[in-house]
């Protein structure tokens, strides 16, 4: 199968404003230190790693919210590493993102219908209202939700709106950055089931960032383990969970609570 993303030696550093001398340039901190991997079409890639390991930074570089300082990102064969916003605009429809905190990622003063419709209108879709309704149907929200404001929804419903906004454009790739970490366990399961179904139905390629390994294990076909801005493990999910190569991965796995407490006693 063809690769949707090809990432070669991706580097990203940001100026460290806390250490900026009075005069002159701030020293740069390397956040991504040369990552290389490919993401084949149709895969669900799990990205795990400790806090501050660079997961979000990697994701935001892939959807070009951040510009890499080195290396290359190829999307469907096209080099998008240093494209400016004008160059990216035609491609923007094809890779979308779902954010961690829907309270922050949904404009509090726009109605749900407006939130889902805005990207559609931007990309010149015809029959926007019909597509908004279709997106709401897909994420299991009744059509009446189009007239609500985000603060009038529950956490799980808000995250569904975030998903609806992303899939309405019928993208090929979606980045999901810790999208269930703010939800309670039962909403988590519902949102994950929903996402799984949508990936199947719409033939999506997904990058799923999480620090919850049990979620990754359930959902993902491949896993990328990041440690301090470097890839320490990149393999099929079963392989990572059954025979982890890196010491850091083993540490992560040991930290997972056992799914069934009774197992300890048998």
């Amino acid at each position: 199968m063809a690769d949707l993303f090809t990432i070669e030696d991706l580097r990203l550093s940001l100026p460290d404003m806390t250490k900026k001398p009075l005069l002159g340039q701030a020293p740069r901190i390397d956040i991504l230190k040369g990552l290389s991997f490919t993401l084949p079409k149709g895969e669900i890639l799990g990205i795990v790693g400790g806090s501050g390991s660079g997961k979000s930074t990697l994701g935001r570089a892939m959807v070009r919210l951040l510009e890499p300082t080195g290396g290359r990102i190829l999307f469907d064969g096209q080099d998008i590493t240093h494209l400016d916003e004008d160059g990216l605009r035609p491609l923007r429809r094809r890779f979308q993102m779902i954010f961690q905190d829907p309270m922050s990622s949904l404009n509090p003063r726009h109605r749900v219908g407006q939130i889902i419709a805005a990207p559609l209108s931007l990309h010149g879709f015809a029959d926007v209202p019909a597509r908004v309704m279709d997106a709401l149907d897909h994420v299991g929200l009744s059509r009446g939700f189009a007239n609500r404001y985000p603060h009038e929804l529950s956490g799980g419903q808000r995250q569904r709106v975030g998903i609806a906004r992303a899939i309405a454009l019928r993208p090929e790739f979606i980045l999901a950055d810790e999208i269930v970490s703010g939800l309670d366990v039962s909403s988590q399961a519902q949102v994950l089931n929903l996402l799984e179904g949508l990936v199947q139905e719409l033939g999506l390629t997904l990058a799923f960032i999480s620090h919850d390994l049990s979620v990754i294990r359930r959902l993902c076909s491949r896993v990328l383990v990041l440690y301090q801005g470097e890839i320490v493990e990149n393999a099929a999910t079963a392989e990572v969970f059954d025979a982890p190569k890196a010491a850091y991965t083993r540490e992560l796995l040991d930290a997972i609570p056992l799914p069934d407490p009774d197992q300890v006693w048998t």
Binding site: V63, M97, S105
Partner: protein, 283 residues
Amino acid sequence: MADGRSQIRRRVGLKLWLSGGWIAFLVMAALCAPWLAPHDPLAQDLFLGRLPPAWVQGAEPGFYLGTDSLGRDVLSRILYGARLALIVALVAGSLTCLIGATLGLMAGFLRGWVDVVISRAIDIWMAFPPVLFSILLIAVMGPGLTSIILAIVVIDWTRFARVVRAEAMAQGAMDYVASAQVAGRRRISTMFTEILPNVLPTIVVLLTLEMGIAVIVEAILSFVNLSISTDDPTWGGMIAEGRTSIHQAWWVLVFPLVTLFLTVLSFSQLGEGLKDRFDPVLR
């Protein structure tokens, strides 16, 4: 629904209705002053000087709020004075708001050199003592409606710029801005469609506050004789005149003062009321 929320909403509505009602009443009075005013506001008649209001002993019929020491009708002068007060409030308030809010929005959201330039301008501006600055400006330009409005705009735009800048900066860090970028929206367009609706409630509150401030500034300038020509009835001018005869004719001072107070109070409450009523996040 009989829960607590509906009661809060009723009280909110009251604030809006009272303040909006008074402003609307004032606007009508100003527009219809030529028909409403019982007398010519400039007509003097020394035989009718210092007549008390209608309900006090010794009043003449037709002079409902009494007359001043030159025999001019207080009610008619308040009605005509409302014209100047409202013009200043409306024009100076909107201009200040437009300039200050636009600069603040650009500085707070676009950041970079735009922010550097605008923030420096604000800092330098704020170092000037405002009252001296306005008196200087009017001294140079000469008294008149334009100079009053200009003085208010020139001094007060920083009030909007600072607050809106801070607010826009906070909103700019929200993920819905990143989301708009992922959707391919241009930055300028994001500023208007995503950020503006979120700073608008603050802008409305500031705008109505500014209108109240403009009314006060105009009154103060009239009081120190720096407003428009002294013949034209202004609330500040009336208060200044009333002050000299407070012991003989309290009504010359009290009625314009109460009108001024109610107007400024209404403007400040109007913004809060509008925000409570129309901000979707608070409803």
